[in-house]
């Protein structure tokens, strides 16, 4: 089997790592939390970084009127199916189709991942801004507008007494490696074709 095909098959399989490892992590640091509060986001679940962290994040957040982090969101159903389907497509492409389709899979994955990230951003924004009007503590920005508590999309940010970190985790690495590898296998495939056409 051609090297490019092997790489493409590997690329298609790598996103399955998302079923094992978390996609993203949000961590909240504060002096009275020497062990920070943390939440891992998986493609099908939210999980505690340490036991009871989500419960305790909710308890903190209710002071400023933020909603409870739900046990489940619709994405937990859609994302796993999406990953399974795209992996299946990738495998079919790897086995049956030529290298040009590798690029197509790459583009598909970039588009879908971007959509996923945008969805995450929207959820994040809503979570940080849709506040209970009867919130115990109400804060305003310098311009008088209500202060939002949206965690950073990517990076670290001060929110009241917390320093909040939002970074991708191992699952995201698997996904991006898969995507990157599909592009790489496209170039390899192109090169293979080029060199084989010369030898023929």
């Amino acid at each position: 089997m051609k090297k490019s095909k092997i790489l493409m098959l590997l690329a298609a399989l790598l996103p399955l790592g998302l079923f094992i490892f978390p996609l993203w992590n949000i961590t909240l640091e504060a002096p009275q939390y020497p062990i920070p509060l943390g939440m891992n986001i998986h493609i099908n679940d939210f999980s505690d970084a340490h036991p009871y962290d989500i419960k305790n994040i909710n308890l903190m957040n209710h002071y400023v009127g933020m909603k409870y982090i739900p046990d489940a969101i619709p994405e937990f159903k859609i994302f796993p199916i999406g990953i399974l389907i795209t992996t299946f497509i990738g495998l079919v492409i790897g086995f049956k189709f030529n290298y040009k389709w590798f690029l197509a899979w790459f583009i598909l994955m970039v588009v879908l991942s971007s959509a996923g990230l945008y969805d995450f951003y929207l959820w994040n924004h809503d979570y940080g801004h849709d506040l209970d009007p009867k919130a115990i503590l109400k804060f305003t920005n310098a311009d008088g507008s209500p202060m939002g508590f949206q965690p950073p999309f990517f990076g670290s940010k001060e929110i009241l007494n917390f320093r909040v970190h939002s970074y991708p985790r191992l699952g995201a690495l698997f996904l991006s490696l898969g995507i990157g590898l599909s592009l790489f296998s496209y170039f390899i495939g192109k090169k293979e074709r080029h060199s084989s056409s010369i030898t023929i």
């Binding site: 062990i35 009871y52 419960k55 305790n56 308890l59 002071y63 115990i136 503590l137």
Partner: protein, 655 residues
């Protein structure tokens, strides 16, 4: 009267002698302050101490947890006395812990903590401590730092020679300081001699659960059994108890029990007696004693009365018990880490007597006996003597070991700690204590593996050592660095109650096992409300049970109506928090009990008898959160004949 006078005169002369003696010393021993003592005990903010030290609270009845070398107090563990701060002995869950054959006893006198061991080394699982007045032994779990078991000791009075633990925690022991009629009966006190008896108790510890079971008692002559230690290593399988009042006096003991030149150390071959009992030996004797166990899943204690003990008559197990003649009312009875030396502190002597275990076995084998006391063979003093530390000080009490071949003995009358060498019996160093030291403690110092870095002197008297606080001033502990040839006084710190004995362990052996919270899903309390949906108020005649929850920052329910004067109202409060260090408290105006202080995941109960019509508030007593001051509620109390139905709620709004 004449005798008393003579003794007083004697002590006065001793005191004069000591004073002049100490003057010579003090000019030389200035070194402690000029060196870097402060650096050695300074633990920077946020840093942890190297050792946990557990100091008995003496007449406070409790056990205090300190850090060493800083001397900082972390926690007072309630054991034998009620503690209103923690609701120990006040809430319905822990009241059974203080049940005894005499009923509920709210106070105790805690003396000698000792830690569980495996292969003669501290294993950091449990710490045991004895109660002197109403004879009991408690077990404290070192994952929760809470008292989880208390066993009453029958046929015992003044449980002082206790609670020492064998090499593998096979047994923890108790022993009677005061001999009494056994079984108890109405008889003239003057008929003490020959009629009063003492018991030594061997309590089996379950190797998994730690649960204690009084396996057998030994019926001994009517002496006072003062202190004890188990054999270590080569002498594992033996237990050694000091005795005084072998005169069997029953009045003015300070004189009448100080007449014999020598009393005894009782050497008990417990393995032999255990085998005898396992083969059906010993007589079953009716008894009545409480066994109280705290269950971590129900967060509740139960008390069971036990009705029988196995009593062993030494005459029935020949070759199991011997008396070692020991000078002058010995107090401390300490075994060195090798198990060879039995160090006896004749408290009215200026010498220390050290018996040899090997020589003892040899004398027993060759049946070299000097006679017997009530049928128990007495060995010859000279045959078993390993050595004497001559003129070491005045009033020797207790000895600990550093594992480097050195021993450290406290001298009460001359207020000093003396370091001496095992085998050569030479005095190496002496340092003053301020004042009147009782026990000394080296972390692991009564195990096979001492951590010989520090020595803690536990002092009875402080006088001018701290800012005065009226007639009652604190007792104290003093920390010495013993890593060098000479001891160095590093720190003085006050203690709770009276620190009799103490035990210490490297923090690394237990701190990672310390529990952070109780898991709600493991809470099996019959009245727990594990979610907000479980909250309710139930009436059963005039008994009302409130199933209440707490979480930052409210009670659920927080408004309750339909309570009537004359009701008996149970507040069963579950703390729904699952975060480290977020307890909630609750106090109700007019409740004739303590607050509750409820750890995350725990359920506790108090009872309130409303006596007056009105609307009465309750509130959270532990500053739990930013909205702590808002954490409150009301109970409406109506007249006895009112027909207002029970109702309750939370946040059912003031529209």
């Amino acid at each position: 009267m004449k005798n008393t006078f003579k003794i007083s005169l004697g002590f006065l002369m001793i005191a004069v002698a000591i004073t002049s003696c100490n003057n010579g010393n003090s000019s030389k021993s200035k070194g402690a302050l000029s060196s870097s003592a402060a650096e050695k005990v300074y633990i920077a903010p946020g840093e942890h101490d190297e050792f946990y030290a557990f100091l008995s609270g003496g007449f406070s009845g409790q056990l205090a947890v300190y850090g060493l070398p800083s001397g900082r107090l972390f926690k007072v563990i309630p054991v034998f006395s009620v503690d209103a701060e923690k609701a120990y002995g006040f809430n319905e869950e822990t009241k059974p812990m203080l049940n005894t054959s005499h009923g509920f006893i709210p106070w105790g006198d805690s003396h000698h903590p000792d830690m569980s061991q495996t292969n003669g080394e501290l294993d950091g699982r449990w710490i045991f401590i004895n109660e002197n007045n109403t004879p009991r032994i408690a077990r404290i779990d070192l994952t929760t730092f809470e008292t989880v078991e208390i066993l009453e000791i029958p046929n015992t009075a003044g449980n002082h020679s206790s609670s020492y633990v064998t090499d593998n925690t096979e047994y923890v022991i108790a022993g009677t300081r005061f001999s009494i009629p056994i079984p108890q009966r109405d008889m003239p006190i003057k008929d003490y001699k020959g009629n009063f008896k003492g018991t030594l108790s061997f309590i089996k510890v379950d190797p998994e659960s730690g649960e204690m079971n009084l396996k057998f008692q030994i019926l001994m002559p009517g002496f006072n059994y003062d202190k004890a230690h188990p054999g270590r290593g080569k002498s594992h399988g033996w237990f050694f108890y000091t005795t005084y009042n072998t005169e069997e006096a029953h009045t003015l003991l300070e004189v009448n029990a100080s007449q014999n030149d020598k009393d005894f150390i009782a050497a008990i071959n417990w393995k032999k007696i255990e085998a005898y009992v396992n083969n059906g030996g010993g007589k079953k004797m009716a008894a009545n004693y409480a066994h109280n166990v705290y269950d971590e899943s129900t967060h509740s204690a139960t008390s069971t009365m036990k009705k029988e003990v196995i009593m062993v008559d030494p005459a029935d197990v020949p070759g199991a018990i011997y008396f070692l003649p020991t000078p002058k009312s010995p107090h401390g009875c300490d075994i060195d880490p090798s198990g060879e030396y039995i160090v006896a502190s004749g408290k009215l002597s200026s010498n220390l007597t050290i018996h040899s275990f090997t020589k003892m076995l040899d004398a027993i084998e060759n049946e070299k006996f000097a006679g017997d006391a009530y049928g128990i063979p007495i060995l010859n003093f000279e045959d078993i003597l390993a050595g004497v530390v001559e003129q070491a000080g005045l009033g020797p009490l207790h000895t600990e070991f550093d594992g480097e071949g050195n021993a450290y003995t406290s001298f009460f009358i001359s207020s000093e700690v003396v370091k001496w060498k095992l085998g050569t019996w030479e005095v190496i160093d002496r340092k003053n204590t301020y004042y009147s030291v009782g026990h000394v403690m080296i972390p692991g110092g009564n195990s096979q593996k001492p951590y010989g870095k520090y020595l803690l002197a536990l002092n009875k008297i402080t006088k001018d050592r701290y800012l005065p606080t009226g007639p009652e001033v604190t007792q104290s502990a003093q920390l010495y660095d013993i890593t060098g040839g000479k001891m160095e006084l590093l720190l003085d710190f006050p203690t709770i109650g009276e620190p009799h004995y103490a035990a210490a362990i490297p923090a690394d052996l237990i701190k990672s096992k310390s529990k952070k919270l109780y898991k709600l899903e493991e809470n099996k309390h019959p009245y727990a409300a594990l979610t907000d949906d479980d909250t309710k108020v139930v009436r059963n005649g005039n008994e009302v049970h409130i199933y209440m929850t707490t979480i930052r920052s409210h009670f659920n329910p927080d408004n309750i109506e339909g309570i009537k004067v004359g009701d008996k109202v149970y507040f069963h409060v579950t703390n729904l928090e699952q975060d480290y260090d977020v307890p909630h408290g609750i106090a109700m105006i007019g409740a004739q009990t303590s607050e509750l202080l409820i750890m995350p995941g725990q359920t506790e109960t108090f009872i309130w008898y409303p006596k007056l019509v009105g609307v009465w508030p309750f509130y959270c007593t532990d500053f739990c959160s930013a909205l702590h001051q808002e954490m409150q509620g009301y109970v409406r109390v109506s007249p006895k004949d009112s027909d207002i139905e029970l109702s309750w709620g939370l946040g059912d709004d003031d529209e």
